[in-house]
């Protein structure tokens, strides 16, 4: 790596390499390539073989119980039957819908709670640090442990029912985890409990980062609290809100630990998320080829969602690049 290569030098034409088109040429090529090379390699090494192995298995009817190594799966070749089965399996689509239902309720709830709490914690008050620390504890607790705690608390003779009984004044013995709707509610409560702190932290640091003089100016001009929130804070917080929602949403669709420990997808299939569904198919029913086909289907669905969900994240970058390009063009036109 030539140490003194001026960074504005165009790369020599001879080294033009179409494979590396995604690398901008304003620095030494080799350096830029080296930087991303480990990540590229890891992606390829970890993706190519496993991915194709999954496809290979999904095209057969092989499973560990059938005898023979997975490499012998070609002996059970049966084209796309597993995919047809996946597409016609109502439980698959139910699990998909259920996952999005849980995410769709839990993530906005986490966000609203987090934002509200962030507002409550905006000003200094006595004991702020203690309450702050209390609010952050759930984030540090291993989800598997949390799921387990909630499992105990939601028992029909557990503390949650005891509190409800005390409030309504008569015995309340709902078996949360063994009836359908309450089980879903319980799972969502666990999810919200675990992740609201992260939302709260993100929103709180976002609020602290807002320019203070603009707030003061708005106050002096007689803006009401709601007006300040609606027309000043919300637009300024927008990027961070989008990022927080997308990040949480992406992580939440993978929900497994808490459900696995609280209900294991039950009662019946009432809380069976996609991850639980695939776990059951692969490790309880031991239908690996079917699980592989389901995994591929989910992968395609997630890719489609990702290409839309990630767009808001890249918007600022795209704008910045457009601005840079424009500046470069006008700069080029202006000079000489």
């Amino acid at each position: 790596m030539a140490a003194s290569t001026p960074i504005t030098t165009k790369a020599t034409p001879g080294s033009a390499n179409r494979r590396l088109r995604w690398i901008d040429m304003n620095n030494t090529r080799t350096f830029a390539t080296t930087l991303t090379l480990p990540a590229q390699l890891v992606l390829l090494l970890i993706m190519i073989f496993p991915l194709l192995a999954v496809v290979y298995i999904s095209m057969t009817s092989w499973s560990p119980t059938q005898g023979g190594d997975w490499t012998q799966a070609y002996k059970f070749w049966d084209w796309g039957r597993n995919y047809v089965e996946v597409f016609t399996d109502p439980f698959f689509w139910q699990a998909l819908g259920r996952t999005f239902l849980i995410v769709g309720i839990a993530v906005p709830l986490e966000f609203l709670l987090g934002l509200g709490l962030a507002f409550l914690f905006l000003e200094d008050f006595r004991g702020k640090r203690i309450f702050y620390a209390l609010m952050l504890i759930p984030m540090m607790i291993v989800p598997a442990v949390a799921g387990y705690m909630f499992w105990m608390m939601f028992q029909s003779n557990g503390p949650i029912n005891a509190v409800i009984s005390a409030i309504i004044g008569q015995p309340f013995t709902l078996a949360w985890l063994s009836s359908e709707a309450p089980a879903t509610v319980a799972v969502i409560i666990a999810e919200v409990w675990q992740w609201t702190p992260l939302m709260f932290l993100i929103m709180a640091s976002g609020l602290v980062g807002l320019p203070e003089d603009q707030m003061r100016a708005a106050t002096m001009l007689g803006a009401s609290g709601w007006q300040k929130f609606r027309y000043l804070m919300l637009p300024m917080l927008k990027p961070i809100i989008i990022i927080a929602l997308v990040i949480r949403g992406m992580e939440a669709v993978k929900i497994f630990d808490s459900i696995f420990l609280m209900t294991a997808g039950g009662p019946a299939r009432a809380t069976e998320s996609l991850s639980i569904y695939m776990y059951k198919v692969a490790f309880q029913q031991v239908r690996w080829s079917f699980a592989a086909a389901a995994a591929m289907t989910v992968l395609v669905i997630m890719t489609i969602i990702a290409s839309y969900a990630l767009r808001p994240l890249q918007a600022p970058q795209r704008e910045a690049q457009a601005a840079m390009r424009q500046a470069a063009e006008t700069g080029a036109a202006g000079s000489d």
């Binding site: 901008d24 480990p38 070609y74 504890i137 540090m140 003779n157 609201t196 976002g206 890249q314």
Partner: protein, 352 residues
């Protein structure tokens, strides 16, 4: 900057206290449970013990010592090996993710026009073509009987990489946009349900004898969390003016020196909070460790799941005790880097 009236203050206190109680309650339940003797775990008799009546340290003893009596079957060991393996694999995975992720983030931040914009039909189409091309190879490899050997996997992967590049070029001839995007692939990796990657990884790992080893787990942890590193670190690098490292390079320092001596120290805070997040992600993982470990390197969540004895059912007390012990490392780590946290948490979206 925000004026509040007295009644608002009272209302706020009230709300904060109520919400804090609600949020703290599960933790409280866990803490008390960890001190409860066996008789108070269940409330089967109808009485709920809000406070341990006869506080005891037995649960901690059970978890931390080789206990062969009341709770465990004879061959059960203490939780210490699982604590050790949790620490080793979480730190290892975090370092691995930080290493490849930070480099990639710097590369993408400084040297790339990659917007991560990739239409799904290109992403899926490229994958589909790769599958079409490679499927005959995998069947051939299987028939040759070399699919489950390390050289079989290696040659297959190399052919796959070459095929992928060729497909990319061919697609590039016919499609005017980007046909591949590193940052898209990286984020996409984060969205996959873990099960989709874990089945083949289990197969691969058993071929390479990586099941139930710490390095096997470290690699998987590094791979599944490095997208997070790239994402966060890129936003921190984007905040550091490009002119700084350019100036360093013009002044005669090498690119690597500019990165390590100029840019990285400036992104120190970001690196610290990224490390914490990745550490928490690795530390709290259950599924990966459940599937990729057996006897020697099971982590804390895996051990927790096994804490059931046939004689008296689930071990509520020891589970709570171990769960509480598991809170310590992330909290300590968090306290150590506290000063960087707030800035790190805005994911670079709010510029100071």
């Amino acid at each position: 900057m925000y004026q509040t009236r007295p009644w608002q203050k009272v209302l706020r206190y009230f709300t904060i206290i109520i919400v804090s109680i609600m949020f703290f309650f599960p933790t409280y339940w866990m803490i008390t449970m960890s001190f409860k003797p066996k008789g108070e775990w269940n409330s089967a008799a109808g009485t709920i013990y809000w406070v341990p009546q006869n506080p005891t340290l037995d649960n901690y003893k059970t978890v931390l010592t080789e206990y062969r009596g009341q709770f465990f079957r004879a061959n059960q060991s203490s939780a210490l090996p699982s604590i050790r393996s949790s620490i080793v694999v979480s730190i290892g995975g975090t370092l691995f993710a930080l290493l490849i992720g930070t480099l990639a983030a710097y590369g993408i931040s400084r040297h790339s026009t990659d917007t991560g914009d990739l239409p799904w039909y290109i992403a899926v189409g490229r994958l589909g073509l790769l599958v079409l091309v490679m499927l005959p190879f995998i069947v051939l490899w299987a028939r040759l009987g070399i699919l489950a050997t390390w050289y079989g996997i290696l040659t297959f992967t190399i052919i796959g990489i070459v095929a992928d590049q060729i497909i990319g070029r061919v697609l590039g001839k016919y499609y005017k946009g980007a046909v591949g995007s590193l940052s898209f692939s990286i984020l996409q990796l984060r969205m996959f349900p873990p099960m989709a990657i874990l089945i083949p990884v289990m197969i691969m790992w058993s071929t390479f004898r990586l099941i139930d080893t710490w390095y096997g787990l470290v690699i998987v942890y590094g791979v599944v969390t490095f997208p997070f590193v790239v994402w966060l670190m890129k936003s921190f690098f984007d905040d550091i003016p490009k002119e700084l490292d350019e100036a360093a390079v013009v002044d005669g320092s090498s690119n690597w020196r500019a990165f390590f001596k100029v840019v990285l120290p400036l992104a120190k805070g970001g690196l610290a909070s990224t490390a914490l997040f990745v550490f928490i992600l690795n530390w709290s993982d259950f599924l990966v460790a459940l599937l990729l470990t057996s006897r020697n390197w099971g982590t804390i969540p895996v051990f927790l799941n096994k804490l059931v004895s046939s004689e008296i059912g689930a071990q509520h007390g020891p589970k709570a005790a171990l769960g509480l012990l598991a809170v310590i490392p992330p909290v300590v780590f968090g306290l150590l880097i506290q000063q960087y946290l707030v800035r790190g948490l805005t994911f670079g979206a709010i510029k100071k």
